[in-house]
Subunit: 338 residues, 4 copies
């Protein structure tokens, strides 16, 4: 098929490469002419303006947007007037599914189709393939399946789930899935990322407990403010975290792709001194918690993971000062003044 | 009655003052001669050695220890050989109740009595009275009730609970309570402090949400890493936190003594800039969570409050670095390197 | 002043009573003629239709809505066409502040004023007074201060915060406060309730830990699935929770109005067997957490309190089943099948 | 090598099978003669008494205990007097590492060696191999490496971590690791299981949010007690959870072995109706949180995961009743009485 790609950052560019590798033709556009040029050298058709971009695509067009969530509406406003009924816009970024529902409705009134595609795979997608969660009209999804199938990882990249062989395959095993109506793709991707926050925090907390398993060997003052460690001899381990993460990769219940990456990071730099530990969060974790609240579903783990990221960036400082002020007020506790 | 007090820090000294004000005689001892001297000037009998201290107390002796939890065993080891069967030791500090159980057993084998008394009231106790939670043999408790009654706040300091008038008073309304066998006093005080952590954190989080209710008026970058605030106009409030805490003190469901203190702190310094926000924790909060776990009782709120204190002191930094390392590994996210 | 009140539930009726007791005249309306009749007997002016209600109020009118949050927009739609420029609508219920911002704008275009008033005090407000947090135009607020002042608790209901005497009083000490522009009142009330959730959960968890402090005296099976309690003799306390709550009311750091109520409830029924423990939540707790997320402010305690309410109603059941299914799959753990 | 195995439950029996498959000779003993008989048929040497068991093992003996944690001390007490200096006991179960430290010391005074081995792999270990985390003296560990190596998964079971090839292999890549002195193996296994709790809860919460993504299509009453769902049209998705778990297995960041198992469980029974959702916890999760607290390391995610298990079994019921009682007291909220 022929696909237009707008937004040639890391993700967009690599998707074009993977598609071209599978034999698809791609027309590419980006605000940065260099980004366009780079892909033209690899075989893509470049465009230097939105008009040229649209003109180079035969109808019915399929145009994939891979731009920051904050830029999707502007890109659609720019594109829509240039398109013809029957054309399809695909938002492959990290949009809030609420926006998908609105956009699908608006574009439908112009005769345009809209698919929302949550993609996971990050910088590894070019090589491993992209896991795709897709929302929108089933017909539009089906028409573009060749694209999704080429972007997806090969079925053999994971062993088959026992029991699957007895059933119609569906596409889940092929690495892409039509999840439901407009917004469904980004809803599933949102929750996927919420889960990711929880998984990451689980490893991080556990590794931190291992790392501090030597506190018994360090001096700790005993005063009215600090309770002494009762049994310091129980905390005298200096663990090799890289080796531990490595051994868990084989045969253990906590084996995962995230653990694979962690093992590598700890191998390279066990104390992770190069990282500041100010952890970003990019929307989906927040939206996941809000969805849980709307649904009345308890999500204590995913929420705790989110808040830890806020705290890592100093967002809890005022609350901490309130605590210090209270302790000073009722107990005369001499909180270390600044 | 005549009471011996060992440990003349803020708490111990004020208790002696409150007892003398109620007509009790006190013999006092402390490693610091100045602390002893100060109370002698106010009417206490001073001792310059443990031997002198014990000699000045008529049998059966009642000796109150008001020393840091880490020093209680040493003080008992020092005292016990000097005492006679029938004497009573009272630990009024913040001991772990597990230690009380052990000590009561050991001292009983010497014919000595032991009471554990959890006291709340902090620097305000001299003026307001001390709430006392007491564990140990009932007879020993009853013999020393005049002491507890004098230390406690007056019954009229809180309005009577409806329904109480129909029943035998008990001592709960008098501000002190025999909670059960050895350790019961410090167990109840432990949970009291665990609750205190949760209450404090509740106010702190709420006030922090109010303080940041103006985030919509501040610039926030929109990139692939940070989700933009969808509706900045909903976060354009500059609240007067001191006034809000004050208004809540009258007629609202969240009125409390902690709120009274918070209102005062915020009146004096609304941005609390004088505090670093590195919040200590002194044992009871930790023990409360451990007890919850032993009992299989969920305690998510009290635990979250405890962990926030750990985080405020930078104890979560390694976990945060692990998160940064993971994000770098799977998404190429350029975490700000140190 | 003369005030119109729409919505004569428990809250609305009692507010009318308190206002009349302070000498204000009230015109009242409710879908239930009985509710109107009851207040007419106590001196209010009744109305049997919206038209009659509006006609009985002299301009500029002040009309207080005390209806469920879900009914406010309908009530406004009904009222607005009958009003004249300069009239004021007051939403005293539990609206989402986001709706206040929208309504204030819409009504302003009709020349109407709008105040949002968060009120705390519940069924006790008639007797104790209502704590009021108010948002909207300052002029409108000032014009209606006589109403707010009469509804509020007396200043003497709490001891004065030290330092307050040196400053202009403001109204915070009078039990009502103009918090800011439209929505500010309900924003502050929202966070107030979020805090309330955290405070309540703190007491509830602590009391639960005390209640289960006798687990060591109960049989507990030891198998590969359940770890035995290591030191059962440490959990052999049968605490009197009513007495403990009572003693904490005097001189302790955790004293509060909520504790007063808890002490009474535990006095009446220590095991609380009459309660199912399916805990409702009514909006503000959820909105508080969403606001925290929008502001990037960590709120682990308030969130945990909210989720515990969800869990109490069985909303976590599917997640629990997923855990059971996983344990069965990897460990062959024979989860008790239904 | 020749190894003695005591405890022929699922884990112990399968380990014997895996060892025999690798050419090791095994002497087996269990309280159940049937369990012994079953393995004798497969080639093991059986013993019908402890004396016979010990006699059939040549010195220096290596004896692996695979019994419930609560039974390890009794087994050691039984065995130790029958052993000779230089013999080694291996605790391969789920002991608390604190007990390992004590046991290693006691056994050393008898000239006996002790290794603690945390094993992960569950019912899958026979086929996939067991991940082993080992504590104790290095020499003892080295002497028994042939055993550990045979029990472990093959190195090729996971792709090699980039960078590992440049270094000495160590044994982490071979699926077993000497983690440190006595207790280190079970400490690492303890944290491993703590992480496991967090990972499982992350998936469970996320899947629960997906499952309830259709709440907008269901009737929900609007009253003063319950806030209505603001935008029900945003929650109208009926997701196929089995397909979603399946698609995440390929190319996504949340891929893991636990997800593989979950995908299979959801394929077999999407609503998991056969599970009661009363989730056991077996010690390590609790000990992990206690270790975090001793170390002052925040562990909000692992703790929330643990508490959710408690709640799933109704352990939070009393706390919930306290909340209901409070709401009734201050707001007259008519909690549904039992």
């Amino acid at each position: 098929m022929k696909l237009g790609m707008i937004g040639l950052g890391r993700m967009g560019s690599n998707m074009v490469r993977r598609l071209m590798g599978a034999g698809h033709a791609c027309v590419v556009f980006d605000r940065s002419p260099e980004a366009v040029e780079a892909l033209v050298k690899e075989g893509a058709e470049g465009a230097s303006s939105m008009d040229e971009f649209v003109a180079k695509l035969p109808g019915p067009r399929a145009i994939w947007l891979m731009v920051p969530a904050a830029g999707v509406d502007a890109a659609i406003d720019d594109l829509a007037p240039r398109l013809a009924p029957g054309d399809t816009l695909i938002d492959g970024g990290n949009s809030y599914y609420v926006d998908d529902i609105r956009r699908a409705k608006q574009l439908a009134s112009l005769g345009l189709h809209y698919l929302d595609v949550g993609t996971s795979g990050g910088v590894w997608g070019l090589e491993r393939g992209y896991c795709q969660m897709i929302g929108g009209e089933p017909e539009t999804f089906h028409r573009l399946e060749p694209i999704f199938a080429s972007l997806a990882p090969p079925m053999a990249s994971s062993p088959r789930t026992p029991g699957r062989e007895k059933r119609e395959p569906g596409t889940a095993e092929l690495g892409y899935l039509h999840c439901g109506s407009a917004g469904a793709g980004h809803f599933v991707k949102m929750v996927h990322n919420g889960i990711e926050y929880g998984l990451m925090a689980s490893y991080a907390e556990g590794l931190s407990i291992l790392r501090h398993a030597n506190v018994g060997t360090k001096p700790r003052e005993a005063d009215a403010e600090t309770t002494p460690l009762r049994d310091p001899e129980l905390y005298a381990y200096d663990f090799d975290l890289g080796a531990i993460a490595e051994v868990w990769r084989r045969g253990s219940v906590v084996a995962s792709w995230l653990l694979d990456l962690t093992a590598q990071a700890l191998l390279e730099e066990p104390d992770l001194a190069g990282f500041a530990g100010r952890v970003s969060d990019s929307g989906e974790g927040r939206w996941t918690v809000k969805a849980a609240i709307d649904e009345s579903v308890p999500a204590p783990v995913l929420s705790a993971a989110l808040y830890q990221r806020f705290s890592s960036r100093g967002e809890g400082d005022y609350a901490d000062k309130v605590l210090s002020a209270m302790r000073h007020a009722f107990g005369g506790h001499a909180e270390r003044k600044v």
